[in-house]
């Protein structure tokens, strides 16, 4: 059972118009990351989850998605604390976030 989450429905994210061409691919990759985390968690491959978390932390904010960076940070901490529940929490948060956001290019 996951933790209570904030409802992000309809959350508008303003993204630099310059990045419009790469954003769909980026978000698609993040959707895949949700599945990947699930798979890695199942195989208890915590090292890879940590590396993924680190990558998300470094990439998300750069594209304009600060929350993705926060989720990446949570993943890193969760692996360090050996807390699979926290990893799952982060996965669910990422999935929910990706489902709820609406991109506005400015």
């Amino acid at each position: 059972m996951g933790p209570d989450l904030i409802d992000y429905e309809g959350l508008i994210i303003e993204i630099d118009k310059e990045l419009e061409s790469v954003i769909p691919d980026f978000l698609e990759s993040r959707h895949k990351d949700c599945l990947l985390i699930d798979d890695l968690l199942m195989h208890n491959n915590m090292d890879e989850i940590s590396r993924l978390g680190h990558r998300l932390k470094g990439t998300g904010g750069s594209y304009g998605f600060d929350v993705i960076s926060d989720i990446g940070r949570i993943l890193e901490v969760a692996v360090a604390e050996e807390d699979p529940e926290a990893v799952d929490f982060a996965r669910q948060a990422l999935k929910l976030y990706l489902e709820q956001i609406r991109i506005v290019y400015v």
């Binding site: 904030i6 470094g58 990439t59 750069s62 600060d66 960076s69 901490v77």
Partner: protein, 805 residues
């Protein structure tokens, strides 16, 4: 041997020479004149005799002896110097004579008949008479056939004439000898005077007067000798220590010194000797040691040396009598001085007063004896006490063990407390991080919901949640900082930054809050404020933001003013004083003392009224102190407060950028850098294992006039760097195969080995703690950009490192 001056010798010599010459001349002249006068008399006598012989012919033939006698008398009367005349006939009978009545018969015996062999040759016979020597000159009458005429002339005539001549001669010769003697004196003086000067010079030099200069300007051998002498003196002055200098050294010595001859005559004594033994040094010089009393120093030393003369050196301890009659213990050294040939010269003695040492030795001996006594007593006491202690020893051992146990427990307790403190700080840091992440999401969510169409109560509720979230975020950030400071993990970095730009950004950051409250937010920077400085930009800005936001928070109306002024430069460091002034509520005087303490606000009601954790000022002050600065506050309740922050910032060595952001090449220090790039485009190497990040960076840099290469890990980056030249490397740190630290180190090593110029490497790291940044710098990175990065940060970096490309 009697000393006779050269001048005297010369005068005597010249005078004797004059006398000898005079005497020689005298005798020569006397002999010659006498001879000539004698010849003259002989000739005259002969002439008279011949004349008489001729005049006697007729009277003899007529036997008229009377005529002959008259003739003789007539001649005798007319010629003064004639002593006699007598005429003999052929039978040698006297016909006439000038002797009066008695004719001296012995004349006839001595007479020999005149031969007529040589008519011109006068035969002269010297006769001695009572009147003296007489010259007898005969002349034959008719060649002797008729008889002979004898004329006798006294030598007195010759002597008289000769005496007259010699009298004159002696007078002249005396004059000549006097003149010659005067000339001898003059010449002798002229010759010997320079020699005397030279001799005096030699004597002075012999006495050690090396500064003496002989003043002889004659152009002769003596002049040359004087010149050579002066040259020799000059050489001596350069190579020899002068007598005055030696005297000065000897008289400055604290050791007493005496020099005497082998015969025991005192040659020299220094000041210290005089002072030690109570003599006047000048009075001692020249005295014989035997003139001193037996136990007095000079005699004592001389006697000691005589005893050990064979060794040539003596060092001895003894006692000497002073002039005052007091005995003093001395340590003396005596040595024989030798000349260049090894011949013994003078004896040198050095004497030290060892009264103090002797006294100290005696004291020491006394103390040693006392100590030995004390030691013996102590040993006895210890033996007694040992016996007593043996009884209580067991009890003490138990006490010692107990003490050790207590100490061990205390150590364990202290270690536990320290570990707990560290654990607390780490826990606080970690927890704060975890709290901040969801809190960010809450704040974003609340802001988003605020834009939705909600009822009034719902909006107020949302506003309260939002405000609470923001307050909580501030508190968490403060807690993280405080925990980091307290756990000693706060690291101050030194990086170059644009100071006016940082101040502008600070003001810009808080301008909205000030505007909402209707406050005026002013920035005043000094004209001589340095532009590019080296310091911890982030921490300095944090302090200023904190102070300004406090000022805005506690000011209800009026203004908040920030000013920055440079202080006097010390080496490369300039202390910059930042003042944050407000017209707010102010702080009571008694609260000013505690305002910087943790969790303290001037009034607890303030927290309720204005919010805030109460950690801001504490953190600010701790940060300022960590930057080697100081922070002070002045405040008047109801009027306002002024916070003074002074932080030492240094200037970079090479970069020179003026107030308008113009660097030395005239390029603006901003986004316009690309305008200055000519046809040669800068090449940037992007190193990141994330394809998405590389894509993003490429996209962002697309509009910049740059050439971009990409590497997926550190190893690829190193290989590409080996093959190509880059103007900038953007290096991710955490990568598979080879991480950014290793790659950076290898690149730096490669540059060093190949002698390549250093390429700027900027780390892209999601680890943004100070120690991570420090690790990047240690690996060789010039700078870092925290991930996730913002476009502005990326462009600032490009401006900074590609401006000169």
């Amino acid at each position: 041997m009697t000393f006779i001056r050269l001048r005297t010798k010369c005068i005597i010599g010249f005078t004797i020479l004059n006398l000898l010459i005079g005497m020689a001349l005298f005798f020569l002249i006397r002999f010659e004149v006498h001879h000539r006068l004698e010849q003259e008399i002989h000739k005259r006598g002969a002439t008279i005799a011949r004349h008489l012989a001729e005049s006697s012919v007729t009277p003899i033939l007529t036997e008229n002896t009377i005529s002959l006698q008259l003739l003789v008398n007539n001649y005798v009367k007319t010629e003064d110097d004639l002593r006699y005349i007598y005429i003999l006939n052929a039978r040698n009978e006297v016909l006439a004579h000038s002797f009066g009545t008695a004719f001296p018969k012995d004349l006839l015996k001595a007479d020999e008949p005149a031969s007529g062999a040589n008519k011109d040759r006068v035969k002269v016979t010297k006769l001695r008479s009572e009147e003296g020597l007489l010259y007898d000159m005969p002349a034959g009458i008719q060649q002797g056939q008729l008889g002979q005429v004898h004329v006798g002339i006294s030598e007195a005539a010759v002597t008289k004439t000769l005496d007259g001549v010699l009298t004159h001669l002696l007078f002249y010769m005396a004059g000549i000898i006097c003149f010659g003697t005067i000339m001898a004196v003059v010449f002798a003086t002229a010759i010997t005077r320079p020699i005397a000067i030279l001799a005096a010079g030699v004597k002075q030099v012999g006495m050690g007067e090396l500064d003496y200069v002989t003043k002889i300007n004659t152009h002769d051998e003596i002049g040359e000798l004087a010149g050579s002498f002066n040259s020799m003196l000059e050489n001596l002055r350069q190579t020899t220590v002068s007598r005055q200098y030696m005297d000065k050294i000897i008289n400055t010595m604290n050791d007493a010194l005496i020099v005497f001859s082998q015969e025991g005559v005192v040659y020299n004594v220094n000041r210290a000797f005089g002072e030690l033994f109570g003599y006047v040094p000048e009075e001692m010089i020249g005295c014989r040691v035997v003139d001193f009393p037996k136990q007095e120093a000079p005699r004592c030393l001389y006697a000691a040396f005589e005893n050990a003369f064979q060794s040539g050196y003596l060092s001895h301890e003894g006692t000497c009598l002073c002039a005052s009659g007091k005995f003093i213990p001395v340590l003396f050294s005596l040595a024989m001085m030798h000349d260049e040939q090894g011949k013994p010269q003078e004896i040198i003695g050095v004497v030290n007063d060892i009264s103090g040492i002797k006294k100290a030795q005696e004291e020491l001996e006394k103390k040693r004896a006392e100590l030995e006594n004390l030691n013996r007593t102590l040993e006895e006491m210890v033996s007694l006490r040992t016996a007593e202690l043996a009884v209580t020893n067991e009890g003490l051992r138990a006490e010692v063990i107990n003490s050790k146990l207590i100490a061990a427990e205390l150590k364990i307790a202290r270690d536990a407390a320290e570990a707990a403190s560290v654990a607390k700080s780490e826990f606080l840091t970690n927890m704060s991080h975890e709290m901040r992440t969801p809190l960010n999401s809450i704040i974003v969510g609340v802001e988003f919901l605020g834009e939705a169409d909600l009822g009034r109560d719902q909006s107020r509720c949302l506003e309260m949640i939002g405000q609470a979230g923001k307050n909580m975020l501030v508190l968490i950030n403060d807690l993280i900082d405080l925990a980091r400071i307290e756990s000693g993990r706060l690291e101050i970095v030194a990086e170059e930054f644009n100071l006016p730009e940082m101040l502008d950004k600070t003001v810009e950051l808080l301008s909205r809050s000030a505007r909402i409250k209707g406050l005026e937010l002013l920035l005043d920077t000094a004209s001589d404020l340095p532009v590019i400085v080296v310091g911890d930009r982030i921490r300095l800005q944090q302090v200023l933001v904190n102070l300004v936001s406090n000022a805005v928070k506690f000011t209800l109306q009026g203004r908040v003013e920030i000013s920055a002024r440079p202080g006097p430069r010390v080496d490369n460091t300039i202390p910059i004083t930042f003042v944050v002034l407000d017209t707010g509520i102010g702080i009571d005087e008694e609260k000013l003392q505690t305002i910087f303490e943790t969790f303290t606000q001037a009034d607890s009601s303030i927290t309720r009224r204005f919010g805030g954790s109460g950690l801001g000022l504490t953190i600010s002050r701790r940060l300022v102190e960590a930057m080697s600065g100081n922070m002070q506050v002045e405040s008047t309740p109801g009027v306002g407060s002024s916070f003074y922050v002074t932080v030492p910032l240094s200037e970079p060595a090479a970069i020179s950028i003026n107030r308008d952001g113009q660097n030395a090449n005239g390029c603006r220090n901003g986004q316009d850098f690309a305008k200055n790039i000519d046809t040669v485009l800068p090449v940037v190497l992007l190193v990141d294992d994330s394809r998405e990040n590389r894509e993003l960076l490429r996209l962002l840099l697309l509009k910049k006039q740059l050439l971009i290469d990409e590497a997926g890990n550190g190893h690829e980056a190193v290989e590409m760097f080996r093959e190509n030249e880059y103007d900038l490397v953007l290096m991710d740190i955490q990568m598979p195969i080879m991480d950014g630290y290793t790659a950076t180190r290898q690149i730096r090593q490669m540059e060093e080995l190949a002698g390549r110029a250093k390429t700027p490497i900027v780390a892209l790291t999601a680890h943004a703690y100070e120690n991570d940044v420090q690790a990047c710098k240690e690996a060789g990175c010039d700078d870092h950009i925290s991930k996730p990065f913002k476009k502005a940060a990326l462009f600032d970096c490009l401006t900074k490192y590609l401006n000169g490309a």
